[in-house]
């Protein structure tokens, strides 16, 4: 429950106009900081809904796959340059961005997190790694300005930033795969 309150505080903080304006003024901060933090806020707030409506989640998200799909669709939607542009120009879309990332994507992600099996989880992990690589490549390769609101140099920055995140994902993937996870489990002597 405490978690949900922290999540709400984070959400409110991100929604403060100066904070939102600052983060949205830099393309990479918009995509790689504001949006993930909104999802994270929802991830924390989810605790409240999970405790309040356990049957709902049980019924609709028994194996975690529907939640993951919802998360994916919303996340990918906000990766579209057009969508980011609209959030900047239309207050309604901005509202929808805050709502959908926190209360749909964040909550769905939390509920699916523990339910997904190893294979599904690995698929998601590889999918996101590839997404970072492809996006990074695209943003670096494209010579045209693809957002009305951001200059080409911001696009290039986002490209490098995505590749850097991909590298982090790959390193972590190897670490996870090749270290013996049972080392971190308590053993009784």
């Amino acid at each position: 429950m405490k978690q949900a309150i922290y999540g709400l505080i984070l959400f409110t903080f991100l929604a403060l106009p100066p904070v939102a304006n600052l983060l949205e003024s830099i393309m990479i901060m918009h995509m790689h900081m504001q949006m993930p933090l909104l999802v994270f806020a929802g991830f924390l707030i989810a605790r409240f809904f999970q405790l309040k409506f356990p049957q709902f989640f049980e019924r609709w998200n028994a194996n975690g796959v529907p939640g993951m799909l919802l998360f994916l669709i919303i996340w990918l939607y906000w990766m579209v340059p057009r969508a980011m542009d609209e959030a900047l120009t239309s207050p309604f879309m901005e509202l929808f961005k805050f709502f959908s990332l926190t209360f749909l994507a964040g909550i769905a992600l939390r509920d699916s997190w523990k339910k997904l099996g190893n294979i599904e989880f690995s698929i998601m992990y590889i999918f996101f790694t590839l997404k970072f690589i492809i996006m990074g490549y695209l943003y670096l390769a494209i010579e045209d300005q693809i957002c009305n609101n951001y200059l080409i140099i911001e696009q290039k920055t986002l490209g490098w930033g995505s590749l850097a995140m991909a590298v982090c994902f790959v390193i972590f993937g190897f670490y996870w795969h090749f270290t013996d996870q049972s080392e971190y489990q308590k053993v009784d002597l």
Partner: protein, 559 residues
């Protein structure tokens, strides 16, 4: 079986743990280099203080800028690095019951590389080929061999890093389901941070070598400065992590108490490791080529380090009060009187911690944009880091010497040596307070740092700070006395003190302490988080500096 093992550990830790003789040699060799550097650096500090106060005139073959470069490098890099390695390897050896032979070999290789590198750097400074100050920013260009010397120092540090990583992995593999001893955990934090900190400066130096040789014509000054502070700022927090390892684990034992909740201590280590590197931007608040909004975002990064600092302050005073009360202290502050003020092993780190209060406050001033405009490149900054490094860190290091060196050399800390230590601590505190205090004030008047003559032909504005420069001369003289006492004490305890046993004071957890969660040992995760934070923080300014780069600068020699 488990129960009896725990029992022996508690009652007679020496039976199980201990630095073995081979490892003690490693640590003592590093300490020898550290304190020789302190002596040389201290003498140079006094010389430049007196030159500034116009009390002496340095000869042309050893000018102020050579002295300043050597003072900065010998104390800031060589003294702190060699002390840290000696102390951390002793901790590791004690916690793991001895280093692996190959790790010890790596420590010796690191020692050789570092000594060679430092010798090369020093020779180039003395030959007046490298008056580039310890920050060696381009476009000031030193002789290529100066940078080559720096590479040797860094590679030496890497050898030590790999040694620690190998030993840590080895221990974890053989102790399934257990958490590493707290001091070894700190050592991991220190060397992980060191490894990633040094990557920035390595890239910088490798680009400066061909540039100073004339193989490439220009270099990107802004990128070089940014990479320097990636390292420089992180180095500061490496010392701080080393000092906190003593505050959290050693000091409670000395005062007869138990250490704070281990989970929180480990959380402090993790936060410092993960969040640290981007703090480097607070050294570039005045630099052009970084947009205001990015600078603003970075204020959060550097203030976020205040979180673990405040946690530490809270935790330490909690431990002091709890222990003081257990020893019978009454009333609001009565517990303070119960602390062993006459024991140098406590007094020195305690004053170090107290000086972290003004030091931290000054740091918040420096990292605030508008206030930084006032103090940037004035003597205020020099005053600031003599309080933080010169007191908070160095006094903690000095305090460690009084038990670690006799422990390693199998000698005793005699009551007389303890008294010498107490006197040294007081001399140092008085000297540093006078020197750093007057530096802060002179800085507010506008006295520039790194300038040999600041009288400006007797201009009246300059006259406002000249008298404070005489005061730093006095402080500097007292400090040199402190250096001499400390160096005497160190070598006396190393070679001449009476033979005997000395305690290696490691605090135990409270009896009812909660178990330490194993997830804190996931260094792979902390490292990936560190990399992600670095990537997010650096990508915007660096891409901007490179894609919008000015023509670049050729090497420049101003001397």
């Amino acid at each position: 079986m488990e129960q009896t093992l725990k029992e022996t550990k508690r009652q007679n830790p020496k039976k199980l743990l201990g630095v073995n003789t081979e490892d003690a040699k490693v640590a003592l060799s590093y300490f020898t280099v550290a304190f020789v550097s302190l002596l040389l650096g201290g003498i140079l500090g006094l010389l430049q203080g007196l030159e500034r106060a116009d009390l002496i005139q340095l000869p042309s073959w050893l000018n102020y800028y050579q002295v300043l470069t050597a003072h900065g490098l010998l104390l800031l890099v060589v003294f702190t690095a060699t002390f840290t390695i000696g102390y951390q390897f002793a901790n590791l050896s004690h916690s793991f019951g001895g280093l692996l032979p190959k790790v010890r070999k790596l420590a010796w290789i690191g020692f050789g590389l570092m000594v060679f590198g430092v010798a090369l750097v020093t020779v180039m400074i003395i030959l007046n080929e490298a008056s580039v100050l310890y920050t060696f920013y381009p476009p000031l260009a030193a002789h290529p061999l100066f940078y080559v010397g720096l590479v040797f120092v860094v590679v030496g540090i890497w050898a030590c890093c790999f040694g620690v990583f190998i030993n840590y992995r080895h221990w974890r593999k053989n102790h399934r389901g257990q958490v590493t001893p707290l001091l070894a955990y700190f050592a991991m934090g220190v060397f992980v941070l060191w490894f990633f900190a040094s990557i920035g400066v390595t890239i910088e130096v490798l680009t400066l070598i061909p540039w100073s040789m004339g193989l490439v014509e220009t270099t990107n000054v802004m990128v070089a400065r940014t990479l320097f502070w990636w390292f420089g700022h992180t180095l500061v927090n490496i010392w701080y992590l080393v000092a906190t390892s003593a505050w959290y684990v050693i000091v409670p034992k000395i005062i007869g108490g138990r250490h704070f909740n281990e989970k929180l201590i480990r959380l402090v280590v993790i936060l410092i490791v993960v969040l640290n590197i981007p703090g480097g931007f607070h050294h570039q608040i005045i630099d052009p080529a970084i947009s205001t909004s990015i600078k603003f975002l970075h204020v959060f990064m550097s203030l976020s380090i205040a979180v673990p600092s405040l946690m530490t302050a809270f935790a330490m005073f909690f431990v002091f009060e709890r222990t003081g009360r257990k020893l019978g202290g009454k009333g609001l502050l009565g517990w303070l009187k119960k602390l062993p003020w006459g024991d140098v092993r406590f007094l020195a780190p305690m004053i170090a911690m107290i000086s972290f209060i003004p030091g931290g406050a000054g740091g918040i001033v420096n990292t605030s944009n508008q206030l930084n405009q006032v103090v940037h490149n004035t003597m205020w900054v020099v005053g600031h880091f003599h309080v933080t490094v010169g007191m908070s860190v160095v006094l903690t290091f000095f305090g460690i010497c009084y038990w670690l060196i006799p422990y390693l050399s199998k000698r005793q800390l005699t009551p007389k040596m303890n008294k010498i230590g107490v006197i040294q601590t007081i001399v140092w505190t008085v000297g540093m307070t006078i020197m750093a205090g007057s530096m802060h004030i002179a800085g507010l008047f506008g006295d520039p740092r790194r300038t040999s003559d600041t009288s400006y032909g007797g201009h009246e504005v300059a006259a406002s700070w000249i008298s404070y420069e005489l005061i730093f001369g006095i402080g500097a003289t007292i400090l040199l006395v402190g250096v001499l006492i400390q160096v005497y004490a160190v070598f006396n305890m190393m070679f001449f003190a009476p033979k005997g046993e000395t305690e290696f004071p490691v605090a135990e957890p409270e009896d009812n302490a909660a178990p330490v969660p194993l997830w804190t040992e996931r260094w792979g995760l902390w490292i990936v988080l560190l990399l992600a934070v670095v990537a997010m923080a650096y990508v915007v300014p660096i891409v901007d500096m490179i894609l919008n780069a000015p023509p670049g600068s050729p090497p420049i020699r101003t001397w």
